[in-house]
Structures are given as C-alpha cells and as structure tokens.
Symmetry: C2
Subunit: 203 residues, 2 copies
DNA sequence: TCGGTTTGAAACCAAACAGTACCATTGCAT
DNA sequence: ATGCAATGGTACTGTTTGGTTTCAAACCGA
C-alpha cells in the first residue's frame, strides 16, 4: 500500500505539477481539448508522456483537472471583483467595468474555457460532470449575490433579485460568445454600454 | 472543359445531395465537427467516401457547406418568426414566445451549430470565414429590425434601437449557451420570464 | 447497340494519435 | 557507501484518422 502519505522516497520530480497545470490551462484555452495532442502537451510543459500519465492520469483526466482548477480560479476572480465593486447599483456598474477590463485583456479575450470546452467532453466519459452547467451555476450564484446587494437593505425582494441575476448571468454568457467571435473592442464596449443603461433603469 | 452545364452524361447519382446535407447538419449538430469521423458520416448518410469527396470536397469543405446552409436556414427562421410576431413591444413578446417554443423543441435544444462549431474551425484553414461572427451579425441585424418596429413610427431613435438590439442579441447568445448546458425547461422559462420583464420596461 | 462518362463500393495507404514498456538516472533512507 | 524507489527519456505498439486508388456497374447520347 504505497499511499502518498509522509515523505516521498525515491527521486523527486523535476517539475512543479501546479505550474504545469497552469501552462496546460493556457494551452487548452487557446487550442481546445481535441485539437491539443499529447505531443503539444509534452512540448508546452516540458514534461514527458510517462510522467504526465503517472501524475495526472490520461488525457481526459488531465483535462478534467485543468477544468476544475480553472473553475475554482474563475470563482475566486468573480468574488474578488464583486468585493471590489461594493454594494448598490453603483456596485453593479463597477463590477461591469472590472469585467469589461478583464474581457479586453489577453486571457479574457479568449472567452471562457468552461464554455468552449464543455461541448468537447459531452458524452465522452460517463460520470463526467458537465462543466458548462457548473460554470452557469457559478455565474448565477455570483450574480445573485451581486444583485441582492443592489437592493435597499430593509427591502429585500427575492423575486426581483433572481430576475436581475438571470439577466446579468445570461448577458455575461452571451458576452463570452461575443468575445470569442472576433468582436473588436468597440463592439464589446458598445454591448457593455447597453448593459450599463439597463442597470441604470434599476435605480 | 466539362462544365456542369446541360444534361449530365454518365451514371446518375443515387443520393440527393441536399437531403444528405440536411442529415449531416443534424449529425454535426449533435456530435460536433471534430468528434464526427468520416466513418460516422458515411454511416449516417449512406454515401460512400469517394462520392462524398467528389460531391462536397474534403471534410472541412463539407462542413463549411453544412454551416452555410445552416446559417441561411437560421436567418429564414428568424425572419419568419419576426414576421409572425408583428410590430410593437407586443411583437417582441410574441417573438420571445416563439423563440422559447423553438428552444424547447428537439432541434432547438441542441443550441446553435454556428456557435458551438466555430471554435472548432478557428485557425484551421486560412480564408475561412468565422461563422460565429456571421451568426452574431445575423442576430444583431435581426434584433435591430425587431427593436426598430417597437418604437412609435413617428419617433425613431437609432441609439435606443441599437441599445435594445444589443441587449436582445447578447441575451439570445447567452441563451444558446444555457440551452446547451443541460438547463432544464423550468430554468429556461425562468430566463425567458426575466427577459419579458425587461422588455416590459420598454413600454 | 455501343462508347464514353460518372457513379457506387470495397480495399488500401500513410500519418497521427493516445497510451505503454523499458531502462538508465537520480536521490533519499539506512 | 549502498540498496530501494520513483523519476525522466526513448522507443515502441495498436488503433483510428482523413484521404485515395481501383474496378465493376449503371446510365446517357448517338
């Protein structure tokens, strides 16, 4: 029973698993899952195939790990943007500004890995969670939290909050598609302006 | 110079090219481009490989043809839904109802072929149009037409129209992602209800 | 009827793929 | 020092892929 408890005996591995996952996240993000061969992975990470298999399992398991990491990262990012934005309608505007800034950045302009990649894994391995569903749930819960803070404290309105949250999360999902479809900065800004105008009617 | 003018000499083909394209549209729609092998195509269409190549070119060209056909079909569908819906804010509501009905149908519940497939062709062949860009343009122009008819005839407002069109088209793109991500009917209806409420504020 | 042409169908091909067996190398524990 | 354990790296395998060659059958025009 060689459990991985305690100190490891034998030769220590020469690569940082976490750093490799980060590199491969970028690679999959750019190329997609099916379009990325194991040779690409070996070349990008500098880690050879047997080591990859020992550490991460087969290609599918590796990608699942990458996706899980990505989702956790994304959730943290969204939460921190919410925290930065603060409460009230003004908070939503600020959040949108932060999101727009991210959308125009290098990694943001690649859209969302979970959205683009979940299709590729659909129906592949049974027991595989649907990551685009998870991403949508994540987005909805984040937007619900954001919308809840935009109401007066002594007048919560669950129905109104969830309605606004659904609009915001659906708009953001649509933005992910827009971002990925060669939309230039001006077009993106225009969409964000329209969303700002919508949010203003919530005052 | 064997141009395809006049009557064809030789053995007539035993399959209907248009019908085959329709079948393959469904196939690609379900499985995606990369996940569909030529064997799958042969099996689904009943047409053997050399005939496919003679008729449609290689796999990539075949898929491009399928996508073009799909986009034209989609445009026609959207236009007819707009025509059925009629003018005014009420027209937008009716359009949304029609779109919801389609989204819950069998083919509608597969999302949008152009959205899910454009990723797969990205950076493959140069000179290849970006179909998700085309789809977005199509959606924006359709929504602009819909929004323009929702204003009083003697008070056109181009800025307001394009703002509403951008919201609607982004929401619909987001819906395509939602549809594809295992969302059940209740969740979809809930999003549509939120959009209806938004449109009501335009009265 | 018969020549030319295009089809359908099967076998075939080279390349790329994911995954593995093998072995020399490295380092920790004793 | 030395044996054990896990590593990195190369070479290999069986399979699947997209695409082609080959050939007999079917049809049209003259």
């Amino acid at each position: 029973m060689s459990t991985h408890t305690g100190t490891a005996a034998g030769r220590p591995r020469a690569f940082d698993a976490e750093a490799v996952l980060a590199q491969l996240t970028d690679l999959f993000w750019q190329q997609g899952y099916r379009h990325t061969s194991l040779s690409d992975i070996v070349e990008a990470s500098g880690v050879h195939k047997p080591s990859l298999y020992r550490t991460f399992g087969d290609k599918e398991q590796l990608f699942a790990t990458v996706l899980r990491r990505y989702l956790a990262e994304r959730e943290q990012h969204l939460s921190s943007m919410r925290a930065m934005a603060g409460p009230g309608i003004a908070g939503i505007h600020t959040f949108l500004d932060l999101f727009e800034e991210f959308a125009l950045s290098e990694s943001g302009s690649r859209g969302c890995l979970a959205v683009t990649a979940s299709d590729e894994l659909r129906g592949t391995a049974p027991g595989f969670e649907d990551f685009s569903l998870k991403y949508r749930e994540l987005m909805t819960s984040q937007m619900t939290a954001l919308a809840a803070l935009a109401l007066p404290e002594n007048a919560p309105d669950a129905a109104l909050t969830s309605q606004r949250a659904e609009l915001l999360s659906t708009l953001i999902l649509g933005l992910q598609v827009t971002i990925r479809s060669q939309a230039d900065a001006a077009q993106l800004r225009s969409v964000f302006a329209a969303i700002h105008a919508l949010v203003d009617t919530w005052k």
